[in-house]
């Protein structure tokens, strides 16, 4: 029943076509505002909440950069909702993170219509700035001209090029200089009716191309996970992998599903007094400072590995370029599999630690009455 609408555009006028599309949405009062990536007046591209149509000229949704996982922004926008209708253009990892935050009551989707967009991956923030400084455009990126830069590590092994659980989807994969708008849910179709857009069949070989991308990325993922798991098989190798961590906790700030207002590691529980440090030094002989780096990462694994959507923001945020994404994604694959749970797969699947059943996991104790 999925129907498409084709938005053709001349070469170089992708963003132009999209701004007309979104402009119509605001003018016809379908939404009061749209949250999507846009070029900043000064430099670079950031997610922007645009409520005046004339400002839409600067939008660049397919800019190969995700400065922050937009789930955090939609959460901020809707935790105590404005009540005014809005739209948000999100990649698949952002939608999946938003679903987990909604389960944790940190966001509501009542008055936000989700526009998923196909995601061919993104650069790290500093790479993107260099790419755009050299004149690189979204269309260059989409056509494969990366100007020598590399897509972020996490994106290379991401299995979700297409965003699920959205109302409308902007499709690029399988289309030639056209964007296909796919109308999925009632809310999505209501928007279509308001715009009076006709529907037609989607791009023919889209599904096969999506599968091809998924297959290629899965192989990459399995290879990367095997390599990571081989490399970090004990605490020492984990310590080596995390060498350089200074407990700045920036990866927690960037992580969309790390939802605490105040992380326990910054509370006085971990503000140790002198005698404790001296005690640990006595015991070990030599005590790395700052302490609790491994403790922090292992605890964060315990807290969010079942919610991790593999968006790679932790690696991007780390000032010391520690490869956190492979660590969190590899462990997340195992912990989520143990509870047959996939982060972001469905809005009504209870999170593993938020529920329990009496006749499950008998093998944990291996005891039968």
């Amino acid at each position: 029943m999925a129907e498409f609408t084709k938005l053709c555009y001349q070469k170089g006028e992708l963003n132009q076509a999209l701004s007309e599309f979104f402009g119509a949405l605001i003018e016809q009062k379908v939404f009061d505002a749209v949250l999507l990536p846009a070029k900043q007046p000064t430099r670079g591209v950031m997610q922007t909440l645009i409520s005046r149509p004339d400002k839409l000229g600067a939008i660049d949704p397919w800019a190969p950069v995700v400065p922050q996982n937009a789930a955090k922004l939609v959460s901020a926008l809707t935790a105590s909702p404005s009540g005014r209708p809005a739209a948000a253009v999100l990649r698949s990892c952002e939608v999946r993170a938003l679903i987990e935050l909604t389960k944790l009551k940190q966001a509501t989707q009542d008055d936000v219509v989700l526009f998923g967009i196909d995601c061919p991956g993104r650069f790290e923030n500093h790479d993107f700035l260099a790419f755009s400084d050299q004149g690189g455009t979204s269309e260059d990126f989409l056509s494969g001209d990366f100007k020598g830069f590399e897509v972020a590590g996490a994106c290379k092994l991401c299995q979700h090029p297409v965003a699920g659980n959205v109302d409308v989807r902007l499709c690029m994969i399988g289309a030639e200089n056209a964007v296909y708008v796919e109308w999925l849910t009632e809310r999505g179709n209501a928007v279509r009716e308001k715009l009076g857009m006709q529907t037609e069949a989607g791009p023919k070989n889209r599904d096969s191309e999506v599968e091809a991308i998924k297959k290629q990325r899965t192989e990459e993922r399995d290879r990367r996970f095997a390599e990571f798991r081989e490399a970090t098989r004990d605490f020492q190798s984990l310590q080596a992998h995390l060498a350089g961590c200074v407990n700045c906790y920036n990866c927690r700030v960037a992580c969309p599903v790390c939802y605490c207002k105040e992380c326990v590691f910054v509370t006085d529980t971990f503000r140790h007094d002198g005698s404790q440090y001296m005690g640990w030094a006595d015991k070990r002989g030599a005590l790395k400072m700052p302490v609790d780096s491994l403790f922090y990462h292992l605890t964060r694994l315990a807290h969010i590995s079942t919610l991790c959507v593999g968006c790679g923001q932790c690696t991007s945020a780390c000032p010391n370029d520690i490869q956190l994404a492979p660590l969190f994604c590899a462990v997340a694959e195992k912990t989520q599999a143990r509870f047959d749970y996939r982060a972001g797969r469905s809005p009504d699947e209870a999170q593993p630690l938020a529920t329990f059943h009496d006749d499950e996991l008998v093998e944990v104790t291996g005891q039968v009455k």
């Binding site: 009551k105 207002k261 326990v264 529980t269 329990f356």
Partner: protein
């Protein structure tokens, strides 16, 4: 960085206790004290012989003052033993006990379990170091006190429950005593005598029961069960299910008239199956409360399936008792035409009769007919009639079964009813559709005459239709109209030649015959159709002289809608049936029928009714000569009905549209039902529809809501078990005229059951619903105390303490098949013997042997008895524990037998060890031995009736080795008593879960401490008493009851309870409102504060389980006294040496 906390000087006092030698013999205490002294902030470190002694505690208080200590750590026994002692000491020294004190266990967890001294000392050091580090992170806590509700709930009305209730109530506190049986008393009141004093159980037990029954402060909730318990010590909210007793306690005087008249008998649980009781019963004469109770399971399957809901099991039972008038009166409660339905009803009830599991269903319809035929409706007392104002007149259009039924139920409510019938005769299809040989005219007239007597005004020859419409009736002053004009218009065949002379629709034939109009059939007759109408038509044609009658049916026998009996009867009378054949054209000559062209059919795919659609086979046409063609392929309401009742909707098939529940049409004052609504259906469905319409019309006239609580149809499958060992007996067959004979006459073919046939057939009923609602008890009860429509209800109680005294069960020895229980009638259990010996038992106290032929008959006293101890007790394969009471009651049995059966009775007790440990017990043992009872020291291994020598013939032979002589004995006796083990109740685990306590390995409830806290449980406020905590005799049970009552009283007297402060708290600044803790909390003690978007703990409900703290990633939720810093400190302490 936040300002460094001002270094509040930690001043710790450490004390290692020798505990005499219990700790010191493995842990080198001085060395430990020395080591701890070296730790930071430790000001005092001592070892002392007995820290828990007064001097030990004073030592702490003195040091606190002298050295200004603000922390105290004691290493000694388990904190579950003396934590509160040392906290009290710290409190006396002016410190907040929760901030200051931490207890380290170095006895149970170290010295007592570690063999090597060095390892024990090392381990003690680690644990003490952990304690010293932990205590520094503890903060002030203030225990909360809550008011205590002074009511007490006692569960179980046995001797323990009664005694506890009496003691608590006599202290002035209110007691609610919940007992699952209809009476309190428990097992003790089943016994005859009690050991060792040989007091008769009733003599010492009934006074307790009576005083409990009369005590102002004890409310007995008998025949009730506790459903749920919430809250905490001092503040329990209990929900109790009061099962419907169907007898009003306020009115019942316990006279027993009802039980005399109750026809339903079954084994009495109180007498463990040695004696029978009635469906309405009292467990035993001295029952408290005296109120009788009716054992009513789900309605029997026959009652559930009858569309009119007649009490089938009821009137069948009444017929068995020969009470035919009562049977008819019971039938008349639900349907007005007993004789008619006794003949023509298709009896759906018989399809679900569970007697079929033994042999074949009970023939319920024939019994209904039998009952109706026995009484003279002319003089039969009219059912009671309520009085209504005259102007509330109701008109009924159509005198078929639906109309009659509606009129009947309205007139019983006192409404004046006029039935308008177009035809000159009353009865609708009963009169014109069912031939005389199935429903004789006099039976129908008799029953209509009876209805006339009840006050219904019948107006024949007054059709309501075009000229006199329904609106005329309304304007004539009728307040409501019930349309029941049925569906008697025959459906057309739709083939040409149908209008030829000699084509006579089935119903027209039957109607004309019934009204005596001129009608005749030719020699060769063909009836088309497969329903009951077709059967009636072809059998009528036979009787009108036709020589060849053939039925054409387009499907096969399996799909024929007519009932089996009708088809069999027709075939027997010579009717031929041609299956898979259908008419194509009726051939005529000069306007007269001469023949018919037919075609063969075959069955295709099923149509929407599920029956396979017949498809004509091309080229299979054939013709037959025939004089008369009688189509009988279905009926429908006459279409003229539609235009003469404006405003009422009809569907295209001419059926009226009504609300299925209230039978109301689109016009509020017009109702409709019966075939007019459903199309052709059975008579009993029409009667049921009439009854429903009557209910709606009465509510409509009273302006009441029509839809609400119309009493849902009885359902459920909780029935009495199909009795084992019931002899199969075939169904009663009514005498019938010879088929060839009856084919010539319109007289009734079936002559009805004889009386003795009927009563024997009625006796085959196995009383599935137990109480059959025959209402004999209602009429027998002068106090009018019986209320058959009572419902279960839930009672809410608020109590402060709970005493559980649910008692025990005696083990069923059937699985130990080598003792022959169940197979050999005179091998009895201890409880069965108690009932034999009890004066209210089956033999009024005489000890008699059981009659091998009849389980409930008893013959003569036994000349020799064997009493077998330890059956199921002290046995690894069953119960390892000793049941403590068997030796003593075995001796009691021996004495009773000697006393009641004569001193020459030979008695052998087979024992392993005689356990006569109580006061006066050994003396009783000696006395019984002096009476000549033979004690054989050897466990009996089996009881057999296979004799191995002549003098064993006819005896029960008990085999055992007498270990004192080493001789194998085979002792022939006439009766063997098995002293079976005392077992926990089968539902002990569920009961434990309901009250938040646990069961031990053997299944009895677990007390707080086997030696020192026998009656309290780890769950504060819940206490135990009696055998539910473990096998024990009456003196111990009573002692425990008194102990439990004092525990409950101490709570109530104190009036308040201190609740440990270790409960959860959520830091409002850190909580982000993810609400996961709310889902995890087992006591729903956390709510969301929508305004601030954070979770808040309800401190009254929180029990400090830590589920929330265990999840909360940010640490917002913390359990006081178990914070992260404290646990981390303990871990650091333990691992410091690692």
């Amino acid at each position: 960085m936040a300002a460094l906390p001002e270094t509040s000087q930690e001043r710790i006092g450490f004390y290692i206790c020798h505990c005499g030698i219990n700790i010191a013999y493995k842990v080198r205490c001085p060395e430990l004290a020395e080591y701890i002294k070296t730790l930071p902030n430790v000001v005092v470190s001592r070892d002392y012989l007995f820290m828990c002694s007064d001097p030990g505690q004073e030592l702490i208080e003195k040091d606190v003052k002298e050295y200004g200590l603000n922390r105290v750590v004691v290493a000694s026994c388990s904190p579950r033993m003396h934590e509160h002692t040392f906290r009290a000491a710290c409190a006396r020294a002016g410190l907040n006990p929760f901030r200051a004190f931490h207890h380290v266990c170095v006895r149970e967890h170290v010295s007592w379990v570690t063999l090597d001294e060095d390892q024990a000392t090392e381990k003690a050091k680690d644990l003490c170091r952990a304690g010293v580090l932990r205590v520094q992170h503890q903060d002030d806590l203030f225990p909360k006190t809550f008011p205590v509700n002074t009511n007490t709930l006692v569960v179980g009305g046995g001797i323990a429950g009664m005694q506890a209730s009496l003691d608590i109530a006599s202290a002035g506190y209110q007691v609610y005593l919940v007992e699952r049986q209809p009476t309190i008393g428990g097992h003790m009141l089943q016994y005859d005598k009690t050991f060792p004093t040989l007091d008769c159980a009733a003599c010492i037990g009934t006074p307790k029961m009576v005083s409990v029954g009369q005590h102002k402060k004890i409310e007995i909730l008998s025949y009730c069960e506790v459903e749920s318990v919430d809250g905490f010590v001092g503040n329990f909210q209990v929900k109790v299910r009061k099962r419907a007793r169907y007898v009003n306690p306020a009115k019942c005087t316990g006279c027993g008239e009802c039980t005399q008249n109750c026809p339903v008998e079954l084994p009495n649980e109180w007498d463990v199956g040695t004696k029978k009781r009635k469906a309405v019963y009292q467990s035993f004469p001295q029952a408290v409360p005296i109120t009788f109770v009716i054992d009513k399971r789900d309605r029997a399957p026959c009652v559930q399936t009858c569309p009119a809901g007649t009490a089938a099991q009821g009137y069948v039972t009444l017929i068995r008792e020969g009470k035919y008038e009562e049977a008819v009166r019971l039938i008349l409660e639900k349907l007005p035409l007993p004789g008619v339905l006794g003949r023509v009803c298709p009896a759906p009830c018989e399809t679900r009769c569970r007697r079929a599991e033994i042999d074949s269903p009970v023939s319920i319809r024939d019994l209904k007919r039998f009952a109706a035929d026995q009484i003279d409706l002319g003089t039969f007392a009219l059912p009671p009639v309520a009085k209504q104002p005259p102007e509330e007149r109701v008109a009924v259009v159509g005198s078929g079964p639906a109309g009659i039924s509606c009129a009947y139920f309205l007139v019983r409510q006192g409404y004046p009813v006029t039935v308008f019938e177009a035809l000159p005769v009353i009865g609708g299809l009963l009169r014109t559709g069912i031939p005389e040989f199935r429903l004789p005219r006099d039976v129908l007239d008799r029953e209509i005459e009876f209805l006339r007597r009840t006050g219904i005004e019948f107006k024949t020859g007054s059709p309501i239709g075009k000229d006199r419409t329904v609106d005329h009736l309304l304007s004539d002053g009728y307040r409501a109209v019930f349309l029941a004009t049925g569906a008697w218009e025959s459906m057309q065949l739709g083939v040409d030649g149908e209008d030829l002379d000699g084509v006579l629709p089935g119903l027209d034939l039957l109607r004309k015959k019934a009204l005596g109009e001129e009608v005749s059939v030719g020699d060769r007759v063909v009836v088309i159709g497969g329903g009951n109408a077709a059967m009636d038509a072809c059998r009528t044609a036979l009787r009108m002289g036709a020589s060849v009658v053939t039925v054409l049916y387009r499907r096969t026998r399996a799909e024929m809608p007519a009932s089996e009996e009708e088809i069999e009867a027709a075939l027997a009378e010579g009717v031929k049936i041609e299956y898979l054949a259908a008419p194509v054209r009726i051939l005529g000559n000069g306007g007269r029928v001469t023949g018919m062209e037919c075609i063969r059919m075959e069955l295709g795919e099923p149509d929407e009714s599920g029956r396979r659609r017949p498809v004509p086979q091309p080229g299979s046409e054939y013709t037959i000569e025939v004089d008369t063609v009688i189509p009988a392929i279905g009926q429908r309401p006459d279409l003229s009905r539609r235009d003469c009742t404006p405003g009422v909707g009809f569907d295209r098939r001419g059926r009226v549209e009504v609300d299925p529940v209230s039978m109301q049409t689109s016009r509020p004052e017009i109702f409709a039902g019966g075939d007019l609504y459903t199309g052709p259906a059975t008579v009993v469905e029409a009667v049921a529809a009439g009854h429903e319409a009557a209910i709606s019309i009465e509510r409509f006239l009273k302006g009441e809501e029509l839809q609400a609580n119309r009493g849902e149809k009885p359902a459920g499958e909780d029935w009495a078990p199909v009795p084992a060992g019931e002899q199969p007996r075939e169904r009663a067959q009514m005498p019938e005229m010879e088929p060839k004979e009856r084919a010539k006459t319109f007289a009734e073919g079936q002559q009805g059951l004889s009386e003795e046939q009927a009563r024997a057939e009625a006796a085959r009923c196995i009383a599935c619903g137990v109480c059959c609602e025959c209402k004999l008890c209602v009429s027998a009860c002068e106090a009018k105390a019986i209320e058959h429509d009572q419902q279960d209800e839930i009672v809410d109680l608020n109590v402060g303490s709970i005493v559980i005294a649910t008692g025990f069960d005696a083990m069923d020895p059937t699985p130990l098949d080598h003792y022959g229980y169940g197979r050999l009638p005179n091998v009895v259990t201890n409880l069965e013997f108690e009932r034999l010996s009890n004066s209210t038992g089956p033999t009024s106290g005489k000890i008699l042997m059981r009659d091998p032929q009849d389980h409930f008959k008893y013959t003569r006293p036994p000349a020799s008895v064997a009493i077998l101890h330890c059956i199921g007790s002290r046995d690894k394969n069953y119960h390892e524990y000793c049941s403590r009471t068997c030796c003593m009651y075995a001796l009691k049995f021996a004495h009773l037998i000697k006393d009641k059966c004569g001193h020459d009775t030979q008695i052998y007790n087979f024992y392993i060890d005689m356990r006569c440990f109580g006061k006066g017990y050994e003396e009783f043992y000696q006395r019984v031995q002096s009476e000549g009872v033979r004690m054989i020291r050897g466990k009996a291994v089996g009881v057999t009736d296979r004799a191995e020598s002549p003098d064993e013939e006819g005896y029960l032979v008990v085999q055992a080795e007498d270990s004192l002589t080493g001789q194998l004995l085979r002792v022939p006796v006439e009766m063997a008593i098995l002293c079976t083990a005392m077992e926990p109740r089968p539902d002990a685990v569920e009961v434990a879960r309901t009250f938040g306590i646990s069961t031990g390995r053997e299944g009895f409830f677990t007390e707080e401490h086997p030696k020192l806290e026998p009656v309290s449980t780890p769950t504060a406020g819940v206490f135990l008493a009696g055998a539910c905590q473990g096998p024990k005799d009456i003196p111990d049970a009573v002692a425990q009851a008194k102990a439990a009552s004092s525990e409950a009283q101490s709570l109530s007297t104190l009036g308040q309870v201190v609740v440990a402060p270790m409960i959860s708290g959520i830091d409002p600044d850190v909580c982000v409102g993810c609400q996961v803790c709310i889902d995890l909390c087992p006591y729903s003690a956390i709510e969301i504060d929508d305004f601030r978007g954070i979770s808040v703990v309800n401190e009254a409900l929180c029990k400090g389980c830590g589920s929330c703290a265990g999840y909360c990633p940010s640490g917002a939720a913390k359990i006081r006294h178990f914070t992260d810093k404290q646990i981390f400190a303990e871990i650091d302490g333990i691992m410091a040496s690692g």
